[in-house]
Symmetry: C2
Subunit: 664 residues, 2 copies
Amino acid sequence: MTTTATTLKGQPLDRQTLDAMLRRRLFFTPAFEIYGGVAGLFDYGPPGCSLQANIVDLWRKHFILEEDMLEIDTTVLTPHEVLKTSGHVDKFADWMCKDPKNGDILRADHFVEDVLESRLKGDKEARGEKVEEEDDPKKKKKRKTKTEAVKLDDALVQEYEEILARIDNYNGEELGELIKKYDLKNPATGVQPSPPVAFNLMFQTSIGPSSNLPGYLRPETAQGQFLNFAKLLDFNMQQMPFASASIGRSYRNEISPRAGLLRVREFLMAEIEHFVDPEGGKKHHRFPEIDAIELTLLDRHTQLAGKTDVKKMTIGDAVRNKVVDNETLGYFLARIHLFLQKIGVDMTKVRFRQHMENEMAHYATDCWDAELLTSSGWIECVGCADRSAYDLSVHAKKTGAPLVVRERLDEPRVFEEWQVEIDRKKFGPQFKKDGKTVEAALEATNQEQREKLAKQLAENGELELEVAGVGNGIVKVSKDLVKVEFRKRVENTREYTPNVIEPSFGIGRIMYSLIEHVYWNRATEDGGDEARGVLSFPPTVAPTKVLIVPLSANKQFQPFVSKISQKLRKIGISARVDSSSATIGKRYSRNDELGTPLGVTIDFQTVQDSTITLRDRDSTKQVRADEDTIVAAIQSLVTGAREWKDIATELPAFEGQEVDVAVR
Amino acid sequence: MTTTATTLKGQPLDRQTLDAMLRRRLFFTPAFEIYGGVAGLFDYGPPGCSLQANIVDLWRKHFILEEDMLEIDTTVLTPHEVLKTSGHVDKFADWMCKDPKNGDILRADHFVEDVLESRLKGDKEARGEKVEEEDDPKKKKKRKTKTEAVKLDDALVQEYEEILARIDNYNGEELGELIKKYDLKNPATGVQPSPPVAFNLMFQTSIGPSSNLPGYLRPETAQGQFLNFAKLLDFNMQQMPFASASIGRSYRNEISPRAGLLRVREFLMAEIEHFVDPEGGKKHHRFPEIDAIELTLLDRHTQLAGKTDVKKMTIGDAVRNKVVDNETLGYFLARIHLFLQKIGVDMTKVRFRQHMENEMAHYATDCWDAELLTSSGWIECVGCADRSAYDLSVHAKKTGAPLVVRERLDEPRVFEEWQVEIDRKKFGPQFKKDGKTVEAALEATNQEQREKLAKQLAENGELELEVAGVGNGIVKVSKDLVKVEFRKRVENTREYTPNVIEPSFGIGRIMYSLIEHVYWNRATEDGGDEARGVLSFPPTVAPTKVLIVPLSANKQFQPFVSKISQKLRKIGISARVDSSSATIGKRYSRNDELGTPLGVTIDFQTVQDSTITLRDRDSTKQVRADEDTIVAAIQSLVTGAREWKDIATELPAFEGQEVDVAVR
């Protein structure tokens, strides 16, 4: 298992060089940069925008179309009451400390993590062990904390390491205790920050002209799906199980955003809510299809023991051994694995980590994160939670809406139970205004109480019931008004609140991690030392599929450029023409940085015999053939039907002098 | 020209029946309905979500891909300073009145419109003229205002009509005067509301944990594009003209949202910012391609004359006659026309209306709206504004960022002019701390002033200059410190701020208007009186392309259903299976309401000879052939290569008894 961030070719990954390249090529850029920027807000330029669209498109095909999920599009603006009920108003918070000296606001868990990691690094230095920046997957965060070479006791080193392994499991009070116990100080001031307080992460606003309806920007798309559950079930003609899905922006007012695209305040999510019957072990009918897929798992128990060792296991075994709770949860873990593989993620840099008890969101009963290894460490890119019946239950309770499934039973169910039968004609005149209250109190009794009441009726001809607010609080009801009897009840339908399995994807995080996984430096590979970045995206996700370059500005090339552009556009393949005056080599390098997998050159030979060359980004090898043959080759490469090695054997290689010189 | 809302077949359009159908089929639904809903917020269910995606996809192909526009994706959260500079904080407002009696908040222009329209209707009734609900394109709004049959003077009727024709041209003060002059009263209370005050339409929030950065949800995607101008120009390798584009949500805190999807608080926009050199008449190199396209125009002068008569004119003539200001603006009007046609809008219900002076947004110099006729009247669905250099200029001035184009001139430009040359070595010691101020004042002089200063130097050996805040406000500079001479200056580059032409699309409004345009009632056509709604979407935009129906639940049909589903999925055609127990006719009716253009039936003959039937939604005619022939026919219909009439002549008709009976 890889544990440190590297390029695609295993070179140490230089984050700063990569970031500079991504900004230069306008994959993304800090939003409002000419106004000084706003932390945690980024804009995507054309290549980033296209990469995002391609990932979303694959996601839609892999999940929504494959399983006929019901895609819906709900609003970001959400009234207070909805998020109060869902628990987000009270519980969707991070722990925040304040430095009393300079007013710095720190996210408590990150602060503890930073200081302890810095002390461990200082210890390594003091022991004379090598501390390479590149060896450290969290170096980005480290810059904030100055490292001092101080040797620690062996026992203390172990304590620190164990704390870091379960850092996500501490609540605010516990983080406060760690800060006190280990005297953790803000490196900027040398002062211990104040005890952690909860900071709600939702952006607040008010809806309407009279400012009377407080609301928030949604922190997840899920609530919009839950609120529409009854309508979706109708649309699905009452068939269970089914899933809804939403792709849209969500918002979290991060305390101190950092690590570029990995922790932002506005982001694109793709979320699935799979509604399943809680009875019968949450089986999934397509589980056999993925049973044999091997995943890399880091379970809860390992982490609580202060360790981070992963296990490789088929998802079938993981479910059978109860490492993963049920088939439906397991099915989606495997489907997430397949999706990441499909878009080009380096699968040696993926692990599924189970949440620890305190770490789980307030609504979850079990949760696994797909984490991707990057230069900022292991990053949660996909969460897969079992939200049980939590959300549907709380919304149903609050609104009275029946967010349930009613299922016709093949065989009726028979219950034998104590039943209460009230004679309403006599009940009203007897109790007058208290009638309803007494009736409700009777209906609310449980089986055990009813058995006692039946006994009272039989023995005394009346029963005694506590009813708060009526008379002295004790009400007597005689046997001519009520019967309590042990009877049979037959049910032909069953009513239940479905459980929800929720795979939730952070598209921006996946996108950034993917970029790190496919990035490498051609110069280093070739033995040079300049930066010649390449992004080896699979053709399906690459922002642009084909670069078209005329050899020079010679007007003879223009008709060929137009013709090939139009042909590619017609078959839906995105291409860009670069007819700038830069050398062919420079133009290809520019497109290596953009991750364009294929290049077509129009040269003087084209003018003579209509042949064109096709270049493979990764090998820089070229072939030459007539236009239609090359277009067919491009189409087969872009759809994934064939690979470059197939094309290279079929078509004659081309080693044009000027091109070769320029690329080298 | 059509002037009232009708169905596709010219029947009167019953908005309530249509709305009920759209909600039943989950095209859209009020957001948070189980919590009582929030005005102006709607969720899209599966068919609405898919329809929206198809329209956006066509938009992207028609505009972005066709012209290699640079698509970017920017944040919704926008800091205060940006929108202060753009003018939105001060000017992006509607006029709002308050009813002093019941506290009702009214949008002033809508209030004046409602009351005057109601009086005109009352007049018609009093004169015994027929007032049909269906004849009235604004009936939806009317329900708020109770109509009384009171006859008005002929002159007053004309006054009211003229006011209504230019209702969008009044400012707050003028609306207040109209309310007073005509004694307009809130029908709910019989009381005249308070004078209109400005209400800013932006949702406010604050960014970061210490609430110190006020921000808004963007009211348009445009600002994010302007702020990235310099980076986009770089990305485009300094080539002009070019366009950027964004598809994303924007937010407007409408005073009193109404008319369903037509006036909402959160909506999807698709905006293009086309950057063009202001010199040379804003020509467009592709204008000849659209020169002959005929548009329906309602110009500014007609409206100011109190009229609403449209003119039909080719866009070429409109530009040549200066009805439309320039080629680039005209080019986009024609491209908008073609887009609306492509998605299936009824082109007899489209007009381009020019904004009147007071109506234009604060940034615009000219603006045309593509308006679509619906049951709520003429609705602005696309705006096409010439924003001149407004936005780039204000942001450049505020931030100092060079939002300009630097162009190498083929022939250098020569200027002869008065120039100031300061001897800085002597200047500093002479003026000390005031040096910079005096220097700046000298540099700021214009040509006329410089000519005078040169004369003073020649005559007196010194010049006199007003410099506020230095000494007594008059500064003398001797000729050994400064020269003012008439000289030649040669410029090899030209620097300019581009102008912006902005086509801006409200996707939700287009989508809803399109639905009204393609809606009709099959029962009315057939002489029946029940509601049998059909949505005749073109196959390209239809949410689902094919319905697959097995004749019954017979297990023999299942393998055929799976096979055809998989074949269609493989060629990227969205299909849905309906294997419910409803009759075939009911299942087809359900899909007529969903706008599914094609239906495939699997029956007992399929089991025998593998043939299947294909049904056309609009004619309900069917053909029968083997599976591959039908799949090929579906593909050609969905891509638009062929039409149903072609298929109907090529393949044998099918008139299956049970199907026919059920559909009729």
